[in-house]
Symmetry: C2
Subunit: 199 residues, 2 copies
């Protein structure tokens, strides 16, 4: 197999990249972006070799403890549990949240053999004990498995944290009530809040 | 900048990959496809370092002469001129053509400073002189610049090749006449062929 064919095949490991786009990518790099291609190769090598889980929060990082956990300007009173590092990126990009995180890297799924051990629940208990946050926010996905995982964690740390909360489910901003599914609407109505007339 | 951010930025050099998909790709590799990520890094490095233009046809290859030019089972009577290595891949995947190729790696475009030298016209003349094909097929794209390039090459090698042809333009297979543009329809009508009643 030629080096180009090897590259086209290797590129197809990327999500959403099939044979045609892999071919387009390979030729684009070879014909127009050699230097960037070498930089991409080096960035891949460095990340694959060095990025591991943060010892405190299980987020991805090349350091023993990740930048978020090392940042002592964050709010020590808040710990937010998410399923994936992508959720942290989304919450950070949204802004507004300034507490710490814990990443499960998955959700409870007995059929797939994913139990509390695979999700680092022991580490979570240790982290809660060390940080002693005033509030633990459960930000697992609003799926059956995400709900079950949130429920499990709630029970697990019930005695250790004063306040345990779950992110709100409801109609997304820019969404239309007419086209919102029934489960979401039920949550949106149950979770209704008093209108603040003074702000 | 963390290694993950570096990787996410480096991935955006790929065509069609923005910040969101780059992030998805990076996390996918880090969480689920480490080994494949390393293989991709190595394939990139090898290709970027070693792939150059074929000395005979200017196609991309890691050898001095590419596999297609070295394949002596191909039809020496045919030489097909294309704009890009991607065109060779498309024609090879379609099957049916068994001659040799020559890649311009561009098209005549005086405004962009792309003249005959940049397209290896000297090499094309040498290749025609060495191969002495019975027919030269001009398979540049059916654009204004592609047509101009085909016309230029036609004049350049007029004395050296008995037959110089241009790929057919017309209604694509599966296309609908109703929705075909006027220029294509004009070509399709002008290029009409007798219906073979005996096959």
């Amino acid at each position: 197999m030629s080096m180009i064919d090897t590259l086209i095949e290797a590129l197809q490991v990327l999500p959403g990249v099939g044979p045609k786009s892999a071919q387009r990518m390979a030729l684009h790099l070879l014909l127009r972006e050699r230097q960037a291609g070498i930089q991409l190769s080096q960035a891949l090598q460095a990340a694959m070799d060095n990025v591991r889980q943060c010892n405190l929060c299980r987020n991805l990082t090349e350091h023993p403890v990740c930048g978020l956990c090392r940042d002592n300007r964050r709010d020590e009173g808040l710990l937010c549990v998410v399923e994936s590092p992508a959720d942290i990126l989304a919450i950070e990009q949204a802004g507004g949240y300034r507490g710490y995180y814990f990443v499960l890297n998955g959700r409870l799924s007995p059929l797939d053999g994913i139990g509390p051990e695979q999700l680092g629940m022991d580490q979570l208990v240790d982290r809660v004990a060390a940080l002693q946050p005033a509030e633990l926010i459960l930000a697992t996905n609003p799926t059956v498995e995400g709900e079950a995982t949130a429920h499990y964690i709630g029970q697990l740390v019930a005695g250790q944290v004063a306040k345990i909360s779950r992110i709100a489910h409801g109609v997304p901003l820019g969404g239309e009530i007419e086209y919102t599914d029934g489960g979401t609407l039920t949550h949106a109505l149950q979770g209704r809040r008093d209108l603040d007339m003074h702000s």
